[in-house]
């Protein structure tokens, strides 16, 4: 194995071939969001993105004001980029394996707001806890 280490391997930086087109797609999606409120989602996992592509995307979109961590079926990171309305979403499994990575163009990703059924269920649990407290439980 030592011998293998002596062979110089220098992967050439791949050119940023797809990021420019993606940035135009994002711009068009933001236009649509402003005009009609339509959401858009770009699945980054199914695109061949080089390191240079990713760097260019990161650089052009920048870092925004909100960074959220979702803990459900493993952890997820939801970050607004420096371009308001463009969210970088990474879902990972319980083992920390990246399941899907996408750019969502919307006011707030659909996964963020509390769901009505979840709110009702939570309220029910809260009422039960209150009733238990009043009836002399702990």
């Amino acid at each position: 194995m030592k011998m293998l280490d002596t062979i110089p391997i220098r992967p050439a930086p791949s050119p940023a071939a797809n990021a420019p087109a993606l940035l135009r797609e994002i711009a068009a999606a933001l236009d649509a969001l402003l005009l009609s409120g339509r959401r858009h989602c770009i699945d980054l996992g199914s695109l061949p993105l080089s390191t240079a592509d990713r760097d260019l995307l990161r650089e052009a979109l920048g870092t925004g004001e909100i960074r959220m961590e979702l803990v459900a079926l493993g952890s997820s990171r939801i970050e607004e980029t420096g371009v308001p309305g463009v969210w970088w979403v990474r879902h990972s499994s319980e083992d920390g394996i990246l399941l899907t990575e996408s750019l969502e163009i919307c006011h707030v990703p659909e996964i963020v707001p509390a769901d009505t059924t979840d709110i009702a269920n939570g309220l029910q649990r809260l009422r039960q806890a209150l009733a238990l407290r009043e009836s002399g439980g702990h």
């Binding site: 220098r10 791949s14 695109l47 499994s93 996964i111 979840d118």
Partner: protein
């Protein structure tokens, strides 16, 4: 036992967010819009667990090895908790008479409704004597099992296109499943082996929506709609004309395009470049070796893995195979093979007429 996916979510105290995440991950895997993934999850929730019979013929068990290594936990969960794998002679504990009895019982109970997964080619030579289990030849076994199947998934290039057993001079007269069974829907999931997530993904898709859209080789467009080349991270080097010419030259070390080293990426339809292998770690081209084209028909008989493609256009025509074999002086068994192949060509032409192939999704990267 009849637990559905949605039940499982609720019983585990999971929120709608968890459900949406599950949908997003599945949609990404199947290249579906999120709304379709939600519909899929709901369909799965209301569908009773289907029986799956998994039969192995002329094969090396590589496909099953691959399938049991599916890394996506959600899909694995779907597969092994939402289906009832009633028979698989490699995975099950029972053997001999007990195994055959269990299989007959499972098939009887779900007759007409089960999903039949077939792994391996079917040898037709010598009356089917090249592959016999429990006193029954593979071809008789398949014909019987197919009668009770709602659909057949031909897993691996052997089952889909004949694969290695079918390669010249094909001494056992091996044929793909589609050549034995004509009256059941067949989904070809090719690859040597197929990507694990593709196999599980196709099963999940079938359970939710029924037959997927297929290409002219009978493969689901979701996974086989793009060439390796089109989704290859080294594609920009191809476009710039920067190639590796040997495996140790500067181009190879720089990670340039492997086209001139015989990469079959331009004519191979598969999802390796995006889904990758071994928990998304890498795929052949990323490891410095060209694509062998293992998900295409007759990939063994294409005249050399390291010979550059003559031109990067479309699928390889089947006719080339026979011509190549004859020119190369491979005469042993050519008669039988030629017969088998001309039958297959006729079948392929026929099915191509019957199934109008939809155009590949152009925007498959979008949800």
């Amino acid at each position: 036992m009849d637990e559905t996916i949605l039940d499982a979510f609720r019983q585990n105290g999971l929120s709608r967010r968890a459900f949406l995440k599950f949908c997003a991950a599945t949609a990404s895997l199947l290249a579906l819009p999120p709304a379709a993934a939600a519909a899929m999850a709901e369909k799965l929730a209301s569908t009773p667990r289907p029986t799956v019979i998994y039969l192995s013929y002329q094969e090396c068990t590589g496909c099953l090895e691959s399938m049991t290594r599916s890394f996506s936990p959600t899909i694995e969960h779907l597969m092994f908790n939402s289906i009832s794998l009633a028979f698989n002679d490699t995975l099950q504990a029972a053997a001999g008479e007990a195994a055959e009895a269990a299989r007959k019982e499972a098939m009887r109970k779900a007759w007409g409704k089960y999903i039949l997964i077939v792994d391996g080619a079917v040898p037709m030579g010598a009356g089917g004597a090249y592959c016999v289990a429990a006193g029954q030849s593979a071809v008789d076994d398949l014909r019987h099992a197919a009668q009770g199947a709602a659909a057949i998934i031909a897993v691996g290039t052997c089952a889909a296109f004949g694969g290695v057993p079918y390669a010249a001079p094909n001494p056992t007269g091996a044929v793909p499943v589609s050549e034995v069974i004509r009256d059941r829907p067949i989904i070809n999931v090719s690859g040597c082996p197929p990507i694990p997530e593709v196999m599980t993904g196709v099963v999940v898709y079938y359970l939710s929506f029924g037959m997927p859209a297929l290409d002219r080789q009978g493969r689901p467009l979701t996974f086989y709609g793009n060439t390796i080349h089109d989704r290859c991270y080294r594609r920009p080097f191809y476009d710039e004309g920067r190639f590796a010419h040997t495996f140790d030259d500067e181009g190879a070390r720089n990670g340039w395009c492997l086209y001139e080293l015989g990469c079959k990426g331009p004519v191979t339809y598969n999802a390796c470049a995006t889904l990758k292998w071994n928990q998304g770690t890498s795929f052949p081209i990323q490891s410095g070796h060209g694509c062998l084209g293992c998900s295409e028909p007759d990939f063994w008989d294409k005249g050399g893995f390291y010979r550059p493609l003559p031109a990067a256009t479309g699928h390889w025509p089947r006719g080339e195979v026979l011509g190549g074999a004859a020119l190369g002086g491979t005469v042993v068994g050519v008669g039988a093979a030629a017969l088998a192949r001309s039958r297959q060509q006729a079948a392929a032409a026929k099915s191509a007429k019957e199934v109008s192939s939809p155009s590949p999704k152009e925007d498959s990267h979008e949800h």
